[in-house]
Symmetry: D2
Subunit: 316 residues, 4 copies
């Protein structure tokens, strides 16, 4: 059941809890002890978006992501992460030790302090807040865990979901049913240990319904780039999906045929890895907008990103 | 048989041909017609490095990579590339059309001009020269095609192999037997179509033998980062290898234990994709040197990179 | 909503439609034309099983699977199958031609006749009826498409689901919610083209609730073997899951420790591939019951299979 | 350098050592202690085959494989095997314990006795001798470790390489350079722990050069089936390769077009897994010869298998 009804053009300020539901606060709060499956990775929502129908696209602009507390937390987690035996990459070895790291967040200096657990080593990393999980309801009568990234968005876990980014998601059900959570103060590419610097946030976003324009895989737009997101295993399939979607998008914006667009993206594209730990891995494909015709409206999405940026700037 | 004998500390200026042996010069020179397997991807060398023995590391600093001509070339290639049926990702579909793209290289402006083949669209991309293939002889009595990236280096195909980078490779045989080639005026992450903007180059490099220090997977150092390279299929194994090697390297430099280093790299690391088309895919794991103790010599490699940088600067 | 309430010990006779809902009946009935997504792979059910609660196991014995018609049908399907570009193994090639094959089923002779579409070649294959899709409701508040095989069963697509087999599934929700469909007159290992010889069936099954015994991955028992089923991508993870589950099961039945059981299964196990086309691939791990202690009740499942076999024999 | 020159039609009796070079004889002989890399998996040969040239096919019929001793040996091996952290599926966990199992081989009863190391459990498995590694020299100026299976054969590790099987390998270099070793008293599908029941053997084989007939991937023929072998990672690519090669072979023998042959193999094919532990995994694709036209000579290979069978029978 939706927690609120919203309209195209609305600005939302959403409080999100961290992926542990706020229950992991110190070294003794081992996730496997204090959390109970499947109650991990809670999201705020769903928001029913008026006039959003299957076949439309929902544009979500991340105007601001503010850590709600002055700390974040990370951990290892039994049978989860890229460098451990998991339920699916099943081996006979015992799991890695479960350990919790608490980070100090200093919003003034824009830093996140990593403190080693076994030595007194510490180092400040740049604060770079992002939303790990944001999506709409899946189609085909499915309901998916919030741990899963797929065509409906979900647990995309990419640092590109930072303030200033617009996310385009295809609408699958009447009202779209938008939800978000799983803020990270920052994460590395791949989220190797399976857990970012997990934070509660206050996230400000604006939404727009783009009628009659469908979107298959999640897409992003920043001031500098357009990006497609592939969600799959193995990792090369996530790469392929993202490349293919970006090639189609580039072809649409430039009038190039598929092979010419394949060539351009092959030479000019970035391919940042999102996660290598979730039920689907995520890889992005990005191309600089400066390489696209200046006059090109960004696909069926038009000049929407610029407008949402303007709108976000006025909020401040 | 080695083409020359060199010593630790030597500066080499090496002429390299492009991956097509210079035979593809225009739209009619389809690679499958003008090239003959396995005579693709020729390398210059091997150079016998005096005093390089198994168990040592060979440091190779790329001082300069200069395009040898004012053009580069790319193509699709039957059954090769990330978005096509290949000999190994075997399907029943016909191959993609084979097509050649010729790029103008303007060293003055630092650009590479992409021209569409089917329309009159063109766009200038930044010139960013790199060496695609650089390696030593493999160990274990093996001989590998120059198309293969693996622990001995080889066809690593990552844009990070640009001027200013130091590459560390473990020595497997007496004399190391260094060889290089396959220059690219630039390439995107993943080299999706299987071919970069292929160029002949004049490449200047300095080499050093680091005695008694072994290196398992290829490693890079730039002014800003240290990086490990994983070579494997599927792509997640390349990611795992690179992450694990960088975690070990980070642990060595910081005194962190494995789990603390896992945590730090998980939050702070980059994971750029090299290629998703060669017999082994390549993924890098990188961490900013600013996050490592200032006093840390870079592994057994000491302050070598800084010294090689200095040396390269004096060459200009 | 359940279509019927059943009890432990009940015998069910279930009519199942084929995966195309009976709409593909001849060469002109191309699936992409006559079927509408997501209305593929319809199942009969769900059946609410009295007294089945999360933490229990549902044992389903396949007593008989009878083709409901004297024909079956198969096809290629755009972007589906192991040897074609798919939505996830995304390439730039056009899809394979869509084609329909109609098979004659001769129950007397126990054969299925393959007729080529482009020549007059035909050949009779053994009739070997099986159920492709059988499962309970997934846990964790998820709802999954019937096209997906996973821990809850579903689209397992293995020829081992033939008459005489007992399937063990963990119960995830109150009442289990059993459903089945997608009969095949036969299929090859891997179901390479993505479609078996699809048939409507009359399937007779007996069910039992095993209280307080949990089952993680789907398991099978025949007169000759016990088997575990792994569902995952890439295919090696499906293999790993199945092997690991069978090793645990073998250890339980023999008193071997994990490494001894690993050794025994490594030398004695079969590993039949189920499907290499569905959202999760399936691989089985099987060991001959003759290699297990004669006195061993089959896990927490006891002598249930023998009893269900007896029960099935009495039905005839 | 070849150990002997042989001719088409010759019968060879070859003594092969086990994969540990006979150095592992009891529980205390841990492979990582008594063996030295890369001196694992020794092969007997190479044999120079007169008149075998690139473009020809070498047919090798396994007439007999006799265990040379009354024991075999298996083990876990650090960082090797399907259910453990490896050099490539790299995790941060410690390796599994290294342990040795010694098997009694009873040729009279045709059994291999597994004895648990931690309990007094034992069980007799059927003796089913096979050759793990058999191949010719690779092409393209490569030299490969005997641990690698690929187009040249090598460490195929499939139980199908038992007496009565004919193996077809494409010749890559003048004289073919045939070598073999790595006998197993038996192995399970996938060779999960990475090691079969390793034995020294006396292997009898007959060879024939098929002039002017090229073979890309290794192929097998038994009295009952023809089979193609795919060697690749991930496992689904090994599956794809084998299926595609068998489809082409089936099309050639039946006159079916590719899609009709795809359909037939999809419904009638077996897909036994060879290994899931070596540098390339192996999967086979098999179809019953009874489903092929009786008159069909088996590809370019003609009635060779029958003739070699006859020849082998006369040897006894």
């Amino acid at each position: 059941m939706p927690v609120a009804h919203v309209r195209s053009g609305d600005v939302l300020q959403v409080h999100t809890e961290d992926c542990f539901a706020g229950l992991v606060r110190g070294p003794a709060d081992l996730p496997s002890r204090v959390c109970r499956m499947p109650y991990l990775n809670p999201v705020s929502g769903p928001f029913f978006v008026e006039d959003a129908e299957p076949g439309d696209t929902l544009a979500i602009h991340l105007a601001a992501i503010t850590p709600a507390r002055d700390w974040g937390v990370s951990s290892t987690f039994p049978h989860f992460g890229a460098l451990t035996f998991t339920s699916h990459t099943a081996t006979l070895q015992p799991p890695l030790d479960e350990r919790v790291w608490v980070y100090d967040i200093d919003r003034q200096s824009g830093t996140v302090r990593f403190r080693a657990t076994e030595t007194d080593h510490y180092v400040d990393l740049p604060l770079d807040p992002m939303i790990g999980t944001i999506g709409v309801a899946p189609g085909g009568f499915e309901a998916r865990s919030t741990i899963v990234p797929d065509v409906h968005g979900g647990n995309l876990d990419t640092p590109e979901l930072r303030p200033g980014t617009t996310l385009y998601l295809g609408v699958n059900v009447h009202g779209a049913m938008l939800a978000l959570g799983d803020g990270h103060a920052r994460q590395g590419e791949g989220e190797a240990c399976g857990v970012g610097v997990e934070i509660a946030t206050v996230t400000t976003l604006t939404i727009e319904v783009i009628k009659g324009v469908s979107t298959v895989w999640p897409r992003l737009e920043t001031d500098r780039e357009i990006m497609s997101i592939g969600c799959a295993r193995p990792l090369e399939d996530a790469y392929r999906i993202a490349q293919r979607d970006l090639i189609a998008w580039t072809a649409e914006l430039t009038g190039l045929d598929d092979l010419d667009a394949y060539q351009l993206v092959s030479q000019a594209g970035r391919a940042p890895i999102g996660n290598v730990c979730d039920p689907n891995y995520t890889v992005l494909a990005a191309i600089d907008k400066a390489l696209l015709p200046a006059s090109a409206p960004v696909g069926g999405y038009g000049a929407l990103h610029a407008r949402l940026r303007q709108c976000a700037a006025e909020l401040r």
